[in-house]
């Protein structure tokens, strides 16, 4: 229950799915393994993101065209990513992704 509320708040505030809150909490508090946690988190995110997008729509902030431009190619990407997850260690990808995040954060603030 705490996980759900935290994840929702987080998702609505930052426009992200909330997976970065849900996954570690499912692992730490409910004893999920990594794969079940990411999978279950994705399923919960459908509801969270749809509701958050609808709420943001009321504020007139949603750009549907851009959402399609970035979201639809991502659908292809997520199939590839899920396929890869069953086959390789995410170790180096995690580290690379972490580096990309930090670099993007710096650019976002300095821009």
């Amino acid at each position: 229950m705490v996980i759900g509320t935290l994840a929702g708040l987080f998702s609505g505030l930052f426009g992200v799915g909330g997976g970065s809150v849900i996954v570690p909490l499912l692992v730490l508090w409910l004893g999920y393994d990594e794969r079940s946690a990411t999978a279950t988190s994705l399923a919960a995110i459908i509801f969270i993101a749809a509701f958050g997008a609808a709420a943001q729509g009321l504020y007139g902030n949603v750009n549907v065209l851009d959402a399609a431009l970035i979201g639809l190619p991502a659908v292809g990407g997520v199939v590839i990513g899920t396929w890869l997850q069953q086959r390789l260690s995410a170790r180096w990808i995690s580290l690379l992704f972490a580096a990309v995040l930090v670099a993007s954060a710096v650019e976002l603030v300095l821009r």
Binding site: S20, F47, A53, A55, L69, G77, L101
Partner: protein
């Protein structure tokens, strides 16, 4: 411009499928830095873009038997009030504050990923010879 947006979409999708995070956390900076949206618009648009990704990702994961449906429904249902509150809070903040908070979030997610890597495979062989190998 569009090609770059599509590339970001594909990359974000791959990371989302692989790590279970990374849809929105890449969509938002992509929308701001590449498509030039404001922070509020980027976050709102990111939420909508996440929906199809999460649907397809869930169906794919479900085929591998990884989705615990009852917990997912419970989590999703419980989070709606929080999501509404979060959206209201985001719209009460200025774009600059929201942007800086988002940048901090990205660094935290990065730190979390690194910690996860270190704790999962990272037990030093020298520190615990009894469990070696």
């Amino acid at each position: 411009m569009s090609a770059a947006a599509i590339a970001i979409g594909v990359a974000a999708g791959i990371v989302a499928g692989l790590l279970g995070v990374g849809g929105g956390v890449l969509f938002v900076p992509g929308l701001v830095l590449v498509l030039g949206l404001g922070q509020h618009q980027a976050e709102a648009t990111s939420l909508l873009a996440i929906v199809p990704v999460a649907i397809v990702g869930t169906c794919t994961q479900d085929r591998y038997g990884n989705v615990r449906r009852d917990d997912a429904l419970l989590l999703g249902g419980l989070s709606l009030a929080g999501a509404g509150a979060g959206v209201a809070l985001a719209n009460a903040l200025s774009g600059t504050v929201l942007r800086d908070a988002f940048a901090a979030l990205m660094v935290l997610v990065a730190a979390q990923l690194v910690r996860r890597v270190l704790s999962s495979g990272g037990a030093s062989p020298r520190s615990s010879p009894a469990h070696d190998g």
